[in-house]
Symmetry: C2
Subunit: 427 residues, 2 copies
Amino acid sequence: MTDSNSSVSQDLSAHMESLGIAARQASREIARATTAQKNSALLAAAASIENHKNILLLANAKDLDHAKASGQDAAFIDRLTIGEKGILSMAEGLRQVAALQDPVGEMRNLSYRPSGIQVGRMRVPLGVVGIIYESRPNVTADAAALCLKSGNACILRGGSEAIHSNQAIAACIHEGLKVAGLSIDIVQVLDTIDRTAVDHLITMKAHIDVIVPRGGKGLIERISKNASIPVIKHLDGVCHVFVDESANIEKAIAISMNSKTQRYGTCNTMETLLVHSAIAARFLPSITGLMREKGVELRGCAESRRHIPDMLEASEEDWFAEYLAPILAIRVVPNLDSAIDHITRYGSQHTDAIVTELHVNAMRFLREVDSSSVMINASTRFADGFEYGLGAEIGISTDKIHARGPVGLEGLTSQKYIVFGDGHVRS
Amino acid sequence: MTDSNSSVSQDLSAHMESLGIAARQASREIARATTAQKNSALLAAAASIENHKNILLLANAKDLDHAKASGQDAAFIDRLTIGEKGILSMAEGLRQVAALQDPVGEMRNLSYRPSGIQVGRMRVPLGVVGIIYESRPNVTADAAALCLKSGNACILRGGSEAIHSNQAIAACIHEGLKVAGLSIDIVQVLDTIDRTAVDHLITMKAHIDVIVPRGGKGLIERISKNASIPVIKHLDGVCHVFVDESANIEKAIAISMNSKTQRYGTCNTMETLLVHSAIAARFLPSITGLMREKGVELRGCAESRRHIPDMLEASEEDWFAEYLAPILAIRVVPNLDSAIDHITRYGSQHTDAIVTELHVNAMRFLREVDSSSVMINASTRFADGFEYGLGAEIGISTDKIHARGPVGLEGLTSQKYIVFGDGHVRS
């Protein structure tokens, strides 16, 4: 063969195929593993991470040197850095997942039917999960742990910039699997920096059951567009707080400030504040003053600028914007319906909250806003696997098929029907 | 424009786009509709079907004339025929769906978190469901009813051979929607016989949330391959009964006979009988005798032919075969593990049953067989929405993402997270 590119690409294709076959095989083993075995693997992996602290830091230093040499910015370097604290927190994360209840094998809703059979459902693993992520190496440990505990095999594809860190973490997880007498193919971490590996991963229908991309919008859009395997994802977090006519001003201020300023860069941060016109005169002066004290830039609709004239004017694009920054769009709306219409049109079905004292409005908002998390009198920042009690999350889904909202162990499982009879036949 | 084909195809594309937009719009209305409104639409549609019996029979006669003229076979004509009984049963089906509990808005698992918020989930419609089916016109009424009750808008694409019947049924459903004060766009039935309409339907990601194909394997394979929208489907029903060493012979005979001969052409009919070697000498003579009395052709492995020499020899293809006919493959296996391995390798993850008196084997089979329905001492023929108590089913899924097994109202919904607070913020 004279074309070396084509030869490389055929090699890669064969390599990916063999990883896929190994993962499918390993998925049967982990699906049948006992809770004790899975926990023992997680705890041994946590110990291994702590015991190999120096090796992990050295591997991470290699990645960091390379990133600095290639001129990456400070935020990138920050995401890539593990550090002593990162090592302890990875190990702690593995132990936390070990402490979570095992979802596999749970039997529910067993009830007798008129025919005499007893019908219910049993929770089972999905099979093989493909996870594609960017620079944070801790995702390697977190994602592997959630897949393992939920009885799934996984193929992890981290960023090429973190390849030494990810391989070092993988070695610790493999040590944990070996201690528990489990196959190391249960967690496979791609060792190639070839970018086309992702194209293989997201189309290996026979070997992978679901893809979870974690990273920037560009990555997720590209994967959703090209994947032939179901993808659990969210693209945007354009989250709203609606301050209703009947809102308690103090709660409205606390929730709005927390939703916007507790952290600017997270997907559950509020990007647009909707205010009922009947409360605007009382609410807008104080909230805009407090936002400005925190250094938040405000962009208002015409009506809100009647109250606060020195705000910038919001454009149509502002209503669609996920700023992930200290910028807030503000719109005054005439009623609850307009607020819901605004969220339906401009929102991203991630997380939306109402502040209201009126039960009927709370319940209408709850029912009619079609987002993965809908909140009454609470900060949008609560939309998170830990806060919801899932223990950890592999991601957040704004889709409706399969999983919605924060995805924890349960989102990595499915339910099969089970039937108990005693010689029963259908008549 | 001189190219009339391209003009037609652009017209169709614009037409489909406008259907999609109308469906998305209507989906908001039906998602918010009350249970009383939805039931009133269903009951009025049932009455309309009975009141327009003659119109329906006439429309059906048109389709039947055309089918006969184009030389369709008797089975095809049978599937296409509605008849007086079919009309009553469609109306009855609509009333049964009206009687089912409304899944939409159900709130579950609300519990307090340490932060003070109360977190739970609310069941919500998927949005817009696209259903693609073949010659049976009753699917128009059944599928529309299930989508409507679960709060979804739908676009139905029946076979071109049933177009007059389907349009007449659609008119009755529209009458029901009007009586309840609901938009008729909630149930849209495609009026084009252009086959490329399906290609549009399965790629309109912005307007349709899930596709449910109902029909032969060819249809389902084509749709799965080309759809860019999630598909709820099953391809094959290669179902097994495993008669374990400890099986009660009478139960084993009853279950095997029922699983194979109660109906030959259904997806939950047994296709391969697996027999533990330790029970083969006692079980095989009687079961093969009874199967033959029913006219079932038997194809056995070498070991089973030692017991019953006058069986045909099964080939490798027989283990993969979904006969949908009075043919049965029989294989003797040395133990439970071999039985599970056989099912894993050759099965289609549809429905598999074990006949055993040993608890530990029953539970291992239940856990380790990765099929949408797994049964202990019961006939595979029970794998059905009505038998499971779902009330009705829109299809059976052998996938693991979203829905698995018979899909009823619940499978046409999703769950969002809901959070109740009283001014709570994240610290």
